[in-house]
């Protein structure tokens, strides 16, 4: 731990896990979606459901979806700001099976019609884990850039993605591949050391057999 893990972060209270962590989950979800959602259905599970309102977990999640960071003093007013921006949001409580005690499931939709389902947990000290994307385990921390590609289970897609990364001089830190069944639906999850440029995303979207491309960049808008 460096000294600014001890003194810091500057954050809106009251809880690093239930407030700051929740803001981060919302913010990462917004980045994965690519824009502020027009609609968000949020399920609070475990301790998020039990003590979430008192900790402002609900306001924190909406604040993150609006693009606010953990030290934004507008977090307590996030519901009003969301309404001004015509974001529809609703909360429900349900205990998600086999999930970490502090977990939220966010079903979000962008104006473009793009939709995502993000399940994430707050691990303490403001650190989070994106457990699932559209129901598939990805385990992305959001501390590094990430690229998630949904494609048909055909030969060559992994090579296309990795050679594109090589071409863009992006170093791959971790990579996992999954599929539901042979010849079915497959997912690649890459965590990288550099941000992934728009041009790479646009190129991937045009490749035949690639169904959906989702990206998380660090330290920038979008």
């Amino acid at each position: 731990m460096n000294i600014f893990d001890i003194l810091g972060p500057v954050m809106v209270g009251p809880s690093s896990s239930h407030t700051a962590g929740a803001v981060r989950i919302g913010l990462i979800t917004k980045k994965l979606l690519g824009s502020v959602p027009v609609k968000a259905d949020i399920t609070l599970s475990g301790s998020f459901g039990a003590t979430g309102v008192g900790h402002g977990t609900d306001k924190a999640l909406v604040a993150g979806l609006l693009g606010m960071d953990t030290d934004d003093i507008r977090i307590p007013e996030s519901f009003d700001i969301a309404r001004e921006q015509n974001m529809e949001f609703a909360f429900s409580k349900e205990n998600i099976r086999d999930a970490h005690p502090n977990t939220a499931l966010l079903k979000v939709e962008a104006a473009s019609g793009r939709a995502l389902e993000v399940q994430a947990s707050s691990l303490g000290g403001g650190r989070v884990m994106i457990n699932k994307l559209d129901g598939i385990q990805i385990n992305v921390t959001g501390e590094r850039p990430a690229l998630i590609v949904h494609n048909l289970d055909q030969p060559g897609h992994v090579a296309e993605v990795t050679s594109l990364m090589a071409h863009k001089s992006i170093n791959i830190a971790t990579m996992n591949v999954y599929r539901d069944k042979r010849g079915g639906y497959a997912v690649m999850v890459l965590e990288t050391d550099q941000n992934i440029p728009d041009s790479a995303i646009e190129w991937l979207k045009r490749v035949e057999g690639i169904i959906k491309v989702t990206r998380l960049n660090i330290g920038e808008e979008g």
Binding site: M1, N2, I3, F4, D5, I6, L7, G8, P9, V10, M11, V12, G13, P14, S15, S16, T19, A20, S47, A50, T51, V53, G54, H55, G56, K59, D71, I73, I75, P76, G124, G125
Partner: protein, 295 residues
């Protein structure tokens, strides 16, 4: 490489003929690969955020649960009447600790030091000290920044030898750590030597060993807000004892190890689960049920 014991810091100071503050600063420069200016700029940002959080206190607010609010304002009103038992300075410290704890509960911006729940301890002792000495000490701003390095160095050692999360080690790991850090910072500000800094941090931690984390309804409010007062006042007493030449029989590093052992042996119901201690009293349970129903 981050220090793992206060002894390491003191040895480094003696070997390199530098102050406690410089030892922590140099380590940060090495650890994060930053210049002295960059490191100190980050620390100034933390201090500014503490001052800003203090001025942003709103005595009319209550938290979403309704459990906390207005206490800092009440204490300040009482202090201004000039009839407190504790005297003016300590009463300012008490008010400041309450205010910061309440601001946190009311979703205001604070500096986790080392955690959000214990965010009131360091500013509670440093801000009144800073205000009191603004006229007489030429570079009080710089001195306070340096004392924050001392606090951070102590906190780093506690995090490395034990823990700084209530869920891991109970309240002793949060308020205890904050108090120990604040005691060291105060001795530094008052010109005490490195050994006195270590004794103060040891004495502060010893006095809070075993403190459990038993928040009512799991919220960072009851008893957290008032425990920030305990941590702050305890730090002042520990610092004054060390400055008087009183020593801790058990060295600081061993006190931190004892904190870890106590934290590990502590029952899980007393570690931020909201299931034991004050949270499990009839009134604690009644409040919890009321909050669940109203939301």
């Amino acid at each position: 490489m981050a220090y793992h014991s206060l002894k390491e810091i003191v040895d480094y100071c003696e070997r390199r003929k530098v102050s406690f503050f410089q030892a922590v600063l140099e380590d940060d420069m090495e650890e994060r690969k930053v210049t002295q200016q960059e490191s100190m700029a980050s620390m100034y940002t933390m201090w500014d955020a503490m001052l800003l959080a203090s001025t942003a206190y709103d005595g009319s607010l209550t938290s979403a649960s309704g459990l906390t609010g207005r206490q800092g304002a009440l204490m300040e009103e009482y202090r201004k009447k000039g009839k407190t038992l504790c005297g003016d300075f300590i009463s300012q410290v008490v008010a400041q600790a309450l205010e910061m704890g309440e601001s946190n509960a009311c979703m205001k911006r604070i500096v986790a030091a080392p955690t959000a729940g214990s965010c009131g301890v360091l500013p509670a002792v440093l801000i009144p000290y800073y205000q009191m000495h603004q006229q007489e000490v030429e570079d009080i701003h710089k001195a306070v920044i340096e004392s924050l390095y001392v606090a951070a160095g102590i906190g780093q050692v506690i995090a490395s030898r034990a823990f700084i999360a209530g869920a891991a080690g109970g309240c002793q790991a949060e308020i205890g750590a904050a108090s120990s850090m604040a005691a060291g910072a105060l001795v530094y500000l008052k010109g005490g030597d490195n050994h006195q800094i270590c004794h103060a941090s040891a004495i502060a931690m010893k006095s809070l060993l075993g403190l459990v984390c038993d928040p009512v309804a799991g919220l960072v409010e009851v008893p957290c807000v008032k425990r920030n007062v305990t941590g702050a006042v305890n730090a002042l007493a520990a610092a004054d004892m060390a400055l008087a030449g009183i020593t801790s029989a058990i060295p600081a590093d061993q006190v931190f190890d004892a904190m870890r052992e106590v934290g590990e042996k502590m029952h899980v119901s007393l570690k931020e689960t909201g299931e034991g201690g004050l949270a499990a009293t009839p009134e604690g349970i009644r409040i919890t049920k009321l909050l669940i129903r109203s939301h």
